[in-house]
Amino acid sequence: MSTPTPTRTPTGAPEHLTGPGRGGVGDDAQRPDGVLKVRGEFAYGSDLWMEDMLWGVTVRSPHPYARIRSIDIGAALATPGVRAVLTADDVPGEKVYGLELADQPVLALDVVRHQGEPVALVAADHPETARLAASRIHVDYEVWEPITDARAALGHPTWNQVHDSAAEVTELSRENAHLHPQGNLVRHLKIRTGDPAPTADVVVVGEYEVGMQDQAFLGPESGLAVPAEDGGVELYVATQWLHVDQRQICSALALPPAKVRLTLAGVGGAFGGREDLSMHVHACLLALHTGKPVKMSYNREESFFGHVHRHPATMRYEHGATHDGQLIYVKASIYFDGGAYASSTPAVVGNGGTMGIGPYVVPNVHVDCYGAYTNNPPCGAMRGFGSVQTAFGYESQMDALAAELGMDPVELRCRNAMEEGSPTPTGQVIDSPAPVAELLRRLEAMPMPTRVDDGEVDLRDMPGGVSNTTHGEGVRRGVGYAVAYKNVAFSEGYDDYSTARVRLEVVGGEASATVHTAAAEVGQGLVTVEQQIARTELGVKQVTVHPKDTAVGSAGSTSASRQTYVTGGAVKAACEKVRAQVLARAERLVGRTVPDLRLAGGAVVSDAEDIAVPLVDVLGDEALEETVEWHHRPTEAIDPETGQGFAHVQYAFSAHRAVVDVDTELGLVKVVEMACTQDVGKAINPQAVLGQIQGGTAQGLGLAVMEEILLKDGKVRNPSFTDYLIPTILDMPPMRIEVLEYADPHAPYGLRGVGEAPNISSGPAVLAAIRAATGLPLTRVPVRPEHLTGL
């Protein structure tokens, strides 16, 4: 198949912004870090090295729930080559930290609440020495029985007891049944709108379950902490949000921000898994304690314990509709298992609840969405953040309803699709394009993959591949559709902003800009976008991206599909201020006001007056610099009883069509093709947009058919890439993609955050296709062979 090229629907982005080949906004500009990356010279966190540095390792709890009676570090300390062994007593400041709630110990205090919880640290001159010493630390645990079910942790009856008010729930009467003093509830979000007791012609009820997914970024958690002469510390670390790290590190170390300076090391993918601290405080503690640089780099097994995962979810949905497929009501109960610590569970509950019925218009909505503490591994941010799980629920329901009504599933979705002007279940009116139906219709219109039937069977096209499990016997094809939406940027009244410092000066005889932000580049290409915006706004070719550090104000998190929007907005605003200065100078130079002065091609130009003053002349040897803190328009907290409010600043929409072949005898699935349509408002870098859609699609496909952290009694059974499978190049099919550009009038350049939506609609489309191929109800992802064969 030839490589599909994206088509775009132009939406009036100004012509001069989109000129080809200039490396500006709208171009396929190349990454500034690309050459280093292909030469193997890009310094990731795990590549950092200093003369005389030590290696730090972490001792972790083998138990999901236990009390620590004592820790004996004597043998570890006596190991030759060991320089430090630290426990909670050595944490000088606050001993707990957290993104939203400070409930997670830097090093275990008294009680461990999940397997893999950090208990002690070792620094030594060789990583193997450190590991050996770590194995000699003796921790005496009083092991408790873990609480491993979110509903049980809240004292809620299990589903089959839902209608039985006398159902026996014993979990909460147990000793140690509350993981935290405030109880096991992290957040309960309610949405109540319309008629509380609606009735409908047709009702479908379904219960769904989503397993725990891992971000599985390839670059391990890693960094290097260097003690500084002023008693502070420099930390080079692969992370997602330097300033929120800095806040938490300062609190744990009892140091002011001026003494905790962070610089972003190369990041090998993130996908949400680096929003919480991992080795950050630990490396700083060891460095300050030993007075030496300390490097920490997790191996893959430790990485599975070293970051939060995607919340597993159980969901119960009831959809009511008229005979002709008009949705009347949706009732939903959604449970997110937050694991041992809060991390970003409150915000995940926010997304799961407010967007939990999908991009549909429904007059009567009743949602209860819960986040619970359990003794499972802590869960927090992962791409799609609370929306991935619910999309499996609501899209499965739409298919079930379509089947019940005898209606085409795409037709049913289009009939109920949101559009601009529609109300959301939180009472917010969608005030920018929402082409939900168009995304689905365009998918439908795309050609289907064809089966080459030349009598020859290419095993590589079969489920099971060259394992030679079938030549086509028992193989059935299915097609499925799904559509999803997701908020962009931070919501519910959070003051979400980014800071950009832009400098324009003459370097080597050429006008050149420098963009300085703290926005983490994790692979998505924000550094490219920063350059493109500066080129477009300042009319220069040379743009340097300053290393990302805390010497400039916060950029907020690289999450929620927000950086191109928010940091892009900040860079644009800072460029505009610099430009205003340049134009004022140019006017002084020419001695009068010129209304149409602009920057282009390294000069100040006016078309009306035939002026073209080179920037080098306007700037001379002076540098113009502006720093701007840019906030997106405010959102508001939702009402705690009804869930009503202007919760989200922007929504991203995408849809997928999946075509699968299923070997129904062995339960093997081969995804034959994925097609995706997405509205991105404005593709700042079309090539990078496609990369996000393709990569997000792969992660959604992974959750649908293979990716799950398997837990037994709170313990992880598969912490390796041998046993936790992510899609390989053999698992990912060719894709067809159409990118739409309907500008959002509220956003810079009209753009919409791109990264998450395709990760949300992809998996439910695959699930729907497998259902279509097999006729099975399939209420749990990932789908395993045994779900398909009934064995």
Binding site: M1, T3, D28, Q30, R31, D33, G34, V35, K37, V38, R39, G40, E41, F42, A43, Y44, S46, D47, W49, E128, Q215, A216, F217, L218, G219, P220, G266, V267, G268, G269, A270, F271, S297, N299, R300, D458, R460, V466, G523, G525, Q687, A688, L690, G691, Q694, G695, G696, A698, Q699, S720, F721, T722, I726, P727, T728, I729, L730, M732, P734, M735
Partner: protein, 162 residues
């Protein structure tokens, strides 16, 4: 122990290597060649792929001592001074590099593939790169890059079989 081997055409000697160290550790931590990556250190991801006497191997699975007196080629040896290898250039042009952590291994594997079969079909490419995980790209642009590199190498007559 002492290890002597040739890396990217240059003889290297390192002392005090602990027997349990992998070739990957020695390259990264003792020879100052961190280009080969350490995503799993258990032979599952291919990010550490290097050529050992011309054959692709996972350097994390090779004990350092096994490299004694042998030829090792890593991603750092691909470019000719300032000029990128056509495979490196194709990965950049196709947008096949996001976080780039998989890239060194994929470049070495792709170079090996294109040396063996000048113009692989997509199915052949998928088989050849099945041991190289990438979490960012969904592989579409990696396939684009392989096709682009194969075309360019064929045009310049520098690809082909060996």
């Amino acid at each position: 122990m002492r290890l002597i081997c040739t890396v990217n055409g240059t003889q290297q000697q390192v002392d005090d290597v602990w027997e349990g160290e992998s070739l990957l550790y020695v390259l990264r931590e003792r020879m100052g060649l961190p280009g080969s990556k350490n995503a799993c250190e258990q032979g599952e991801c291919g990010s550490c792929t290097v050529l050992l006497d011309g054959l692709p191997v996972c350097a994390c699975l090779v004990a350092a001592g096994q490299a004694e007196a042998r030829q090792v080629e890593t991603v750092e040896g691909m470019a000719d001074g300032g000029a990128l290898d056509p495979v490196q250039q194709a990965f950049l042009d196709a947008g096949a590099v996001q976080c780039g952590f998989c890239t060194p291994g994929l470049l070495v594997s792709t170079r090996d593939l294109l040396q063996r079969s000048g113009r692989p079909s997509d199915a052949e490419t998928r088989e050849a790169l099945a041991g190289n995980l990438c979490r960012c790209t969904g592989y579409e642009k990696i396939l684009d890059a392989v096709r682009l590199a194969a075309d360019r190498l064929a045009q310049s007559g520098t690809g082909g079989h060996r």
